[in-house]
């Protein structure tokens, strides 16, 4: 199923990537090429086949229910968390106004 420029723009909007008309036009061809090529997967008989969920069988672990069990990923690291923020303000992430 080929996609058109309007679809390209819709995908870009879903992906939160600003895109110009020229970029959308260029990407239309590229995406159709790639999607046309992956279409061949449709010819594989997958009846009764479960989709892969874990490539190597593994069980999900739960950590001990202890506050700040891991010093690297525990709490009280506000300054570290904000250190690379583009606009930290008063100990928070600053963003443009979202509520009028």
């Amino acid at each position: 199923m080929a996609i058109d420029q309007a679809t390209v723009k819709k995908i870009a909007s879903l992906a939160r990537i600003a895109i110009s008309d020229a970029e959308a036009a260029a990407m239309e061809g590229e995406l159709n090429n790639i999607l046309g090529w992956v279409e061949q997967l449709g010819e594989v008989d997958v009846s009764g086949v479960e989709p892969m969920t874990a490539v190597i069988p593994n069980t999900l672990r739960l950590r001990d229910d202890i506050v700040d069990a891991d010093p690297l990923t525990g709490g009280n690291r506000r300054d570290d968390v904000l250190a690379n923020a583009p606009e930290p303000q008063h100990g928070f992430f600053g963003v443009p106004k979202v509520i009028e």
């Binding site: 989709p51 672990r61 963003v95």
Partner: protein
Amino acid sequence: MMTDLTNLTVAQIRDGHRAGDFSAVEVAEAFNANVAAAKALNAFIVETPEQALGAAKQADADRAAGTLKPLSGVPIGMKDLFATKGVQTTAASHMLEGFVPRYESTVSQKLWDAGAGMLGKLNLDQFAMGSSNETSFFGNVISPWKRNDGGNAALAPGGSSGGSSAAIAARLCPAATGTDTGGSIRQPAAFTGISGIKPTYGRCSRWGIVAFASSLDQAGPMARDVRDCAIMLQNMAGFDPKDATSLDLPVPDWEAALSSDLKGKKVGIPREYRLEGIDPDIDAMWDAGIAMLKDAGAEVVEISLPHTKYALPAYYIIAPAEASSNLARYDGVRYGLRDLPQGAGLQDMYAATRAEGFGPEVKRRIMIGTYVLSAGFYDAYYTQAQKVRTLISRDFSAAFETCDVILAPTAPSAAFGLGEKTADPLSMYLNDVFAVPASLAGLPAMSVPAALNREGLPLGLQIIGKAFDEQGVLNAGLAIEERAGFTARAEKWW
């Protein structure tokens, strides 16, 4: 100094340092000098000569005190996909330019704990998306290799771990970290005449590695020979509670158990990897590799991996799907680039930031991933691809009932020229045709240099093993290494 220290392998540096033949500071200074003199290769994004020297001084002090560690005295390169505390970590993107982690990735921390020093952060394809290192925001890495046709064409070092492969081939570091999502360790190793192993999925912690496709991403070492890969890998692998997919298994002493005697072993040759119209040099190398493994005592059996041709298209649904989800975190709020146009609101800021911060290939993959996961298409694309992935994994399980390891080429070509494949993304994707199946199945796989083609460029052979059997892969690699006698290296022009 009689020998050039930068020609030594990891094992030789470790043993020579231990024996008192030279100091770790001498080693670090020699590699620092090579790094500083190789700007033309553009292999490093950040150079950290002081860190290499600091670790070397510690190694020399540890030697005096009798407290040497497994990698004391060995300086290495770190792919710039691993978060390094206090040192810029970019994933070769504009999005993360200037990002200085406040924490250290598990794998890099293990290497420092083992006594290794860091020469710098190595260039790569942006967010590890690419097979030629041409998508880096910080410019192409240039392979140290040239064709023997008298021309001067700049060649790709492979990707995504192209800074790692170029740096090792050019003797800027004896070993480096790589990551492999769909061939990103093995293909660059093959292109530059070095070795590299992607271990079983889960062997190396993903914690602190910039995520691309989480069900595929796996760290591994790149080095000049098989022994060095074993040494590096056993100092990178190990259970990490901070990675939910980390394997809770002991780390074997792979180096100690290295053996090129393959008596009693069966090597599978997948008939679907014989591609029509492939470069005859590739098939000739493959046949030579089969003879080498027979010579090492192995029995060779033909096997079938019937879903091979579907691996690449399945990969190009699954990897972009996971990437589109993983890269949603780059929003201009918490870290990385922010582009806030005059008067823009939050949504416009997201879109502007991501338009500015991601390169064309990254955008392409995010777009594909977004599309195949979107309502109405999810089952047709993503679920179908994950079912095909199950079939590919079953192919390997069936094959491993009749063989212990699989031998195949690493890539369908030698290194291509920079710019030769950039116009058509699809032709670039096809270069990973032999590497992707093992990634989808999470299996250990390595590339070892096997021959030069008629253009004088290195070609690599790939060994794929059963899950958790890195030893079998390394041993078969060693058998090839001993027989191929690959000693060629790029003539210095940089």
